[in-house]
């Protein structure tokens, strides 16, 4: 049985403005690349930005239970790869 990876791209206001607007392409790109081994979706605020000054580390993406800070498409794809291993 293959491992299944769950990816949540935070589309809350903070993450969106700080860069997750540009991560929306993952929602199209990931299924093409990994098929149903990886489940990806845009989700409302994960609540990670509200603590202290943590907005500056947005955008956040959750790959299973791991949090990717200052996420970029490349960082998220690398995280997915490491979870698929």
């Amino acid at each position: 049985m293959d491992k299944k990876v769950n990816v949540k791209v935070c589309l809350g206001t903070t993450c969106f403005v700080m860069g997750s607007a540009n991560l929306q392409e993952l929602i199209e790109l990931v299924p093409k690349k990994y098929g149903d081994r990886v489940d990806v979706s845009g989700v409302p605020c994960l609540g990670l930005c509200s603590i202290d000054w943590e907005f500056s580390k947005a955008p956040y993406v959750k790959v299973n239970d791991d949090v990717v800070k200052e996420a970029t498409v490349e960082k998220v794809l690398a995280a997915i790869e490491s979870h698929l291993k």
């Binding site: 809350g12 206001t13 607007a21 392409e25 409302p44 907005f55 500056s56 200052e70 498409v73």
Partner: protein, 487 residues
């Protein structure tokens, strides 16, 4: 074609500073908390992600904060504390005139534009580079081509003829992006904007990989007016819809939460522009005119004023959607302080020339404001606009949208043949000059000009990725009523 699709660390930095600046303004001690921004972002012992040392990182963050305060980085005295500058920003009644400023210390890393022979040079026998150079700038030394910088005119002929692609042109991104040659690296190695030539299009802001070109923010001016209890009214450019993860009606509610008294769609003014411009087009064509250009893009208007004055007779005299919207707002609220929510830098210039428009806010600044206040736009309730704009007006933000709107208002016997200038660059400016000089455009009779590729959604002050923004905006347009001609 660049359409604001690449996520950039420079945008992240600029937005972080804006959030901190707004938080500072809303805190007990604006001046002191502004002074601390570079230290808060790079505290003692923190990593040094970009520059040589923590001191340079802080110095550059300090300069970025100066732009956030709405001031010229070039003119700011380095010895003045950010707290002093914060006080000065508060005293200002109107924004500084030139809307852009260059952070020269960030700009040093970029080598001047020139032709360069790489290691790939094979020292071949044919030597097409030597033979093709009209200026005798290339010679062979130790078996390889060498360019004499004194003689080289940067024409690029050698680049084209080298069979090994061994010669390359080193580009300065801001110079390369500027369609009118208004920004250049001087002998001191710093980029400088010539405001006599600059059309405020903001392409250099988006192009610089060091984030060295800044818009002078008016965020402090706007916050100040809201705090003092003035009736501050928001006017949202059509491109605003689709910039944030919420519906337009939720966005209106979120903006009211920022302290604005009322929110208008500039698409409402676009409907006036459409009708007026269609009428003008009809009259011109009946009088025998060959073509007419649109007049809603501020970057294009400044281009005509500064570089193609011969185009003036062919440019529509109809006012911009912002003009008509501001007029309506001032009628509804004579004591209003008006703020235009803009996708681009060029509208800052237009606003300064219009007494009915007080300030301009772009979407990076708007987004930062929501972050600073912790407003989740997607969770706001829906608040409908009092006047509903048409589908055509709301579609002004997309390339081709203006011409399409005007077309729908024309009588059948006078069809328009649109020519779409989808972004100003050196080639499209050449084309426009040709149309103006010859008084004719072979491709059609209604020329729509947008300075940014993709239209306003591709503006330098946008937040959402182009494709997603277009999808969101189109969804809104599809749900809107069509414009009706009352005549």
């Amino acid at each position: 074609m660049s359409m604001n699709t690449t996520p950039k660390q420079t945008s992240h930095l600029k937005r972080e500073i804006l959030v901190r600046l707004i938080k500072a303004y809303l805190s007990e001690d604006f001046a002191e908390n502004t002074r601390l921004i570079p230290y808060a972002m790079r505290p003692k012992g923190s990593e040094v992600p970009y520059r040589c040392c923590i001191h340079k990182e802080r110095a550059i963050l300090r300069d970025r904060t100066v732009a956030g305060l709405g001031m010229s980085i070039e003119e700011a005295d380095d010895s003045e504390l950010l707290s002093t500058l914060a006080h000065k920003a508060l005293e200002r009644e109107i924004p500084e005139e030139d809307p852009l400023t260059v952070l020269t210390t960030a700009c040093k890393g970029c080598v001047p534009s020139r032709i360069y022979v790489t290691d790939l040079c094979q020292g071949c026998v044919a030597r097409p580079c030597v033979n093709t150079c009209k200026f005798g700038a290339i010679s062979i030394q130790n078996g390889k081509s060498v360019i004499d910088p004194e003689k080289c005119k940067n024409c690029g002929m050698c680049v084209q003829v080298c069979p090994y692609h061994a010669i390359t042109k080193i580009i300065v991104p801001c110079e390369n992006a500027c369609p009118v040659g208004a920004i250049a690296k001087g002998d001191d190695g710093h980029a400088k904007i010539d405001f006599e030539k600059c059309i405020s299009c903001g392409k250099c802001v988006a192009a610089c990989p060091f984030g060295a070109v800044h818009e002078k923010s008016q965020i402090i001016d706007i916050l100040k007016n809201i705090k003092s209890g003035k009736k501050v009214i928001a006017m949202l450019a059509p491109a605003t819809m689709g910039q944030l993860p919420c519906t337009p009606a939720q966005l209106k509610e979120a903006i009211l939460e920022l302290g604005f008294k009322d929110v208008y769609e500039v698409a409402q003014g676009a409907d006036v522009t459409t009708k007026t411009e269609a009428k003008e087009f009809e009259e011109r064509l009946e009088a025998g005119a060959e073509f007419m250009t649109t007049s809603c893009c501020a970057g294009y208007n400044e281009l005509v004023e500064k570089h193609i004055p011969e185009m003036k007779p062919y440019r529509s005299t109809t006012k911009t959607p912002l003009y008509y919207t501001a007029e309506i707002v001032k009628k509804d609220y004579p004591d209003a302080v008006t703020v235009f929510f803009s996708p681009c830098n060029a509208k800052r210039k237009e606003a300064m020339q219009n007494p009915n428009v007080n300030f301009v806010l772009n979407y990076e600044e708007l987004g930062a404001w929501f972050i600073a206040l912790g407003i989740q736009v997607g969770e706001c309730k829906e608040s409908e606009f009092k006047t509903q704009a048409s589908a055509e007006g709301r579609n002004y933000a997309v390339t081709g949208g203006v011409a399409k709107a005007v077309q729908t208002m024309l009588p059948e016997h006078l069809p328009a043949y649109p020519v779409i200038i989808n972004g100003l660059d050196k080639q499209s400016i050449k084309d426009l000059k040709k149309y103006a000089k010859n008084g004719v455009c072979e491709l059609g009779n209604l020329i729509e000009v947008m300075a940014c590729p993709g239209g306003c959604l591709g503006g330098n002050g946008t937040v959402n990725a182009y494709k997603q923004a277009l999808k969101q905006l189109s969804g809104y347009v599809d749900k809107s009523e069509h414009l009706v001609d009352e005549n």
